[in-house]
Subunit: 421 residues, 2 copies
Amino acid sequence: MDVEIMTIGDELLYGQVVDTNSAFMGQQLGRLGLRVRQITSVSDRADEIVAALDQARQRAKVILTTGGLGPTKDDLTKHVLARYFGRELVLHEPTLRHVEDIFKRFNRPMLDVNRQQAMVPEGTEVLHNAVGTAPGMWIEDQGTVFISMPGVPFEMKRLMTDEVLPKLQKKFDLAPIEHIVVMTAGLGESFLAEKIKDWEAALPSNIKLAYLPSLGSVRLRLTGTSDGQPDLRSRMLALLPALRERIGSYIFAEEDSPLEVVVGQILKTKNWQLGTAESCTGGAVAARITSVPGSSAYFRGSVVAYDNDIKEALLGVNAETLAQHGAVSEATVREMAEGARARLGCDVALATSGIAGPGGGTALKPVGTICIACATPSGTVSRQINIDRGRQTNIEYTAQAVLILLWQQLAGHKEAALLKV
Amino acid sequence: MDVEIMTIGDELLYGQVVDTNSAFMGQQLGRLGLRVRQITSVSDRADEIVAALDQARQRAKVILTTGGLGPTKDDLTKHVLARYFGRELVLHEPTLRHVEDIFKRFNRPMLDVNRQQAMVPEGTEVLHNAVGTAPGMWIEDQGTVFISMPGVPFEMKRLMTDEVLPKLQKKFDLAPIEHIVVMTAGLGESFLAEKIKDWEAALPSNIKLAYLPSLGSVRLRLTGTSDGQPDLRSRMLALLPALRERIGSYIFAEEDSPLEVVVGQILKTKNWQLGTAESCTGGAVAARITSVPGSSAYFRGSVVAYDNDIKEALLGVNAETLAQHGAVSEATVREMAEGARARLGCDVALATSGIAGPGGGTALKPVGTICIACATPSGTVSRQINIDRGRQTNIEYTAQAVLILLWQQLAGHKEAALLKV
């Protein structure tokens, strides 16, 4: 069954806010076996919201909207929906009490605009927003379900998980779509495609393969739709051994796991402690590692040595090495990794140093010259890479590359190349 | 003049990729005075792409699409466009040479699928993709301009900047929309609205105010559309002094600058060096600071002390303080900040320690208990905050909060509260 997502707000069209809500909703709806037919972002103008609603209901039986439910003047969604369905706004008492409770709890005076958050179009089934003042709304009209949620991501997420998904699951009952994701690193999209083209060509017609390249890795996504036979998922899983035969040494996960999760699991198994010494990544590697719940079990810490003094004082990098080879050199990152391993008291340490840009490049070491290293109990490896895609991407790619290097060491693919970018 | 954005790819609808391209395009188009009427994300299915194109051309004279131009089987956009406009695919020689050059440069064998990237619908004006193998395409049909770009963000950005925007600027010539963004921190959306409601009510009808709340701050965006009179921007700027009178101590920038840029500018002016000591943020504060080009001028480094040993060994936190107050305490973060200030040799240091969750909470210190500190030459301030919105948001908010605390110290708003969340 097809559903649609509509995100409302001028800020999305002006590009002042990235629409992350749609991706979350898409993931969750897909797991229920619902197919998102289209995602539409529209302005805060009433006529444009109405036009988009009219078109969406031609395509889908369920329309989920976010945004435009705040307390300020530019938040129109509720009024538009009431007029669109020809319904009055009425007070929803439990929501009013909930809003009052929130203001009491934070000891803040309640304003009239906050009180108005408890008004909903007549006949609305209110979806309780446990973490905010704007209620979710479920409105059925001529066979279509309209769901309205606030645009604040964590409020929308709570409402989706606690209210919307269970209600959808109850109301509709469809054969699920199955996804299997295989994560690869070290080989570009077209080279992967070449290596597995016979395997891809032999896929059954109800199973589709997509290549999702991102910086330094390619995600392969198998999507299976029901062909009426049982055990769709098991039949999809049975395709994997032949895939592994072809590209096994590039596969770091057979589920949608980022590298920081995968290396964390290996470190835990080995009972190894990790640390980082970062220059050009400025803490981004440590931040990725510690984004994983429970990472304190295997992560000791990091020295972000942005200044060369810090590389010497806190990591013990030789002044001579810095003078002779420069901060951006394999010699320096090797000493940084080894210094971090010793000073942070860990089994494995990563190091990064590079010219992220836009300034700081020279003829010999242009912007995008990056060195990375990984020190383990069996020795230190290092690589020089070159990327010039703007500061932010250079930093992100460096973090990804050093995690790939770590994974290759931990998984025993020690000779593997890093993906050329 | 209205334009539309269409992003193509199943991965967007499944939520496996967040659509960041639209926001970038929206920003750039807005600066040219073009209004994005709608953003639509559609699947890789030919009939659905065609249906969306049909609707988009009813609303807008320019339609920008991204995605579906890769070398693999699931990339359909080019074939769909050729069929949609009834044109043959023809070889574009300069693109073929460009693709061949890229493969030569990286010393990789060229595959037939790569060669096919040089095929474009007849009559296409090819937009040179300097950083990738899939060319951009500009196709005019019955008064509408269709622009197709690859979905890889850095390729799309290069194409927008180098090719698409200059061509649009040349072809159309319209009165610009003006935006002024005022960044605030420390006060929630409805309280800001209350403080400025008289000012907001008195805005001229061609100037619109929007509140864009994000974690720990609220962006106010004034949008002015031309009323035929000259000097729109100056008249908008003349509204700011009255705004400052009402909420001046919460305003950290009068342009769309993130806190890390604003504090960087103040640090440079003061000629002060900054460092961080991070526990629960795991390097995220340092990563934000070093995301700013030129931050090496004022950022020395960071100690990410995830393990308590590191807090003692590298930051000199007292074992007694840790034993008596715990790692998550104002006493500990104060010592961390002061330790970082001394050991990293900087003028100002920030510190964070908290229980990001989901594990690690206790009755006395539940998940979301966060302590932050800022040590400056005139002393150390600290705050305890509480937030429980999931690990990732807790970390992001902590980074934001400690940067707000830093800004308040640097800007002299030393008694200001942190925004309650």
